[in-house]
């Protein structure tokens, strides 16, 4: 019933404090057929990339979801909006990630609507760190680990910021680019090569930065089985500027891929 006695403090999770959600009872899709002898493997591999460019930030991601050696899905959406100026690109357990994104979106909106002021940038980052830290037991069991890259446009200072995380919720800010997923390690050197030969991403215009990131994604797809290529379905690509989040059009993505 209505909580007429407690003044709202803006904590979305508090709503469930008295009646916690029993996750065990939520129907979750079985990621792999339960054939005897088959190990159930969570969907895992991917490549997500975030870079700064002249007017903001770009996020791209492949669209493959895998479970072990099986390709589960070729149209997964891994670049998701948390609010009008924040994108989260997810790697790791897809089910867990989607749930976390749903939670964070509600938590941010709940705070803003009930407290009549938006949650601060730091407050939002702290909320994400807490969620990742709370997920450590699941990560240690080998199920439900997820590691995001967060891109947010800071309207106070008019610049983009990129954060990446370790599995314990440790947060690191990066100056140029962030990447996560199984395909991110093989292309690490390529990032550095671009920085040394073509200059920083944050000085590139949008078209150039998109072309470079999609090329990196393409290399990741070549080197990593769990990262999907762009032949069947175009990769996901979004950008953030002072005006908010926009999708790259299909034509822009195709042009950047040289088609």
């Amino acid at each position: 019933m209505l909580r007429f006695d407690t003044p709202g403090a803006g904590g979305f999770a508090d709503l469930f404090a008295e009646k916690p959600i029993n996750y065990d009872r939520l129907p979750m899709p079985t990621p792999y057929p339960n054939v005897p002898g088959t190990r159930v493997v969570d969907t895992h591999g991917t490549t997500v990339i975030a870079v700064k460019y002249k007017d903001g930030l770009i996020n791209v991601a492949d669209r493959r979801a895998t479970a072990g050696y099986a390709v589960m899905y070729d149209q997964a959406e891994k670049v998701l909006a948390l609010d009008e100026f924040t994108l989260i690109s997810i790697s790791g357990s897809f089910a867990k990630s989607v749930e976390v994104v749903r939670y964070l979106r509600h938590a941010f909106k709940y705070f803003e609507r009930s407290q009549l002021q938006p949650m601060s940038q730091d407050g939002k980052l702290m909320e994400l760190q807490r969620v990742i830290a709370n997920n450590v037991p699941a990560a240690l069991q080998g199920i439900g680990a997820f590691i995001p890259v967060l891109s947010t446009y800071d309207r106070e200072t008019n610049q983009g910021r990129i954060y990446f995380y370790d599995v314990l919720g440790g947060q690191f800010e990066t100056a140029e680019y962030g990447a996560a997923g199984s395909g991110s390690a093989p292309i690490k050197g390529a990032f550095e090569y671009i920085l040394k030969t073509k200059g920083p991403f944050r000085e590139m215009d949008r078209e150039t930065a998109l072309r470079e990131t999609l090329t990196l994604l393409d290399i990741a797809a070549d080197l990593d089985t769990a990262t999907g290529g762009s032949a069947k379905f175009l990769p996901a690509a979004k950008y953030i500027t002072a005006d908010g989040i926009r999708d790259f059009s299909e034509a822009e993505i195709k042009a950047a891929l040289g088609r």
Binding site: L2, R102, R113, L116
Partner: protein, 262 residues
């Protein structure tokens, strides 16, 4: 229990109503209407903000004690977010929120002779996928609620509400207005309602429509804006690329409407 007989019960309800109505009657009226791009809520205020976002496609405004308005607002936000997270945002509807959650709780408080009643008359405005699925719900201090299409108002007296509705009805007869036309009609209706509220305070209030001429109402609104009253308008936009469908209109968006009264 103080109500030993039907007479006592009647008496206590009567007194409660008088107490509540007395506190409501000075409230600045609120107007809700459908315009061609979504839904609009408009009121005018002196200091305290009056129009609030509840959920993705739901907004709220009310007259009453600020502390009560605040409690109902937060309760509505709690219920909507818990439901939207656990089930789906599509399952958050004004109908479920008001009739199953808010109304019973308010009714319970109202019926308890020892409880401080909720002094509030509010409008919940829900934007549907199409204009004909927009839904405006009125919720009152006794838990009573009703649904109206196209437009809705709350004001301190039933008479003022009647007069406001009359004006809105004639304004929207020609079809769904544009935002500009909707704002104009809503502000004018606010003036009509507010003017009646103030004149009803006088002993010689005549309950006629005489003072509703465009000149009188215009002068009345002009006087209030001149005294520092601020027009506040919130919209839910049906077609927008923005993350939030709700927003408060900025001063510059309201100038065209308010400049008529400068």
């Amino acid at each position: 229990m103080p109500s030993n007989s039907p007479y006592d019960w009647n008496e206590s309800i009567q007194q409660r109503n008088e107490y509540i109505e007395d506190r409501l009657k000075d409230g600045s009226p609120v107007v809700a209407l459908t315009y061609d791009g979504g839904l609009l809520l408009l009121s005018a205020r002196q200091t305290q903000r009056k129009i609030y976002e509840i959920y993705d496609k739901l907004m709220f405004s009310a007259i009453g004690n600020q502390s009560d308005v605040e409690q109902i607002r937060v309760a509505a936000i709690d219920v909507a977010h818990a439901e939207g997270f656990q089930r789906s945002p599509d399952d958050v509807s004004v109908q479920r929120l008001v009739s199953f959650r808010l109304s019973p709780a308010i009714k319970k408080i109202y019926s308890d002779p020892f409880a401080q009643p909720v002094v509030l008359k509010g409008i919940f405005a829900e934007m549907g996928k199409t204009p004909d699925r927009d839904r405006l719900m009125l919720l009152s201090y006794d838990g009573e609620f009703s649904t109206t299409p196209d437009h809705a108002v709350v004001a301190g007296t039933a008479y003022a509400e009647d007069r406001m509705r009359e004006h809105l009805k004639s304004e929207t007869e020609a079809g769904t207005p544009t935002l500009e036309a909707g704002l104009r009609a809503a502000l004018y209706a606010w003036g009509v309602g507010m003017k009646h509220l103030e004149s009803e305070d006088r002993a010689d209030a005549d309950y006629s429509t005489d003072g509703e001429g465009p000149k009188d109402v215009t002068a009345f609104i002009k006087e209030h804006l001149g005294k520092g009253w601020i027009v506040e308008a919130g919209v839910l936009e049906r077609d927008t690329t923005r993350e939030s469908r709700f927003r408060l209109l900025s001063d510059s968006e309201l100038t065209q409407t308010t400049s008529r009264y400068l």
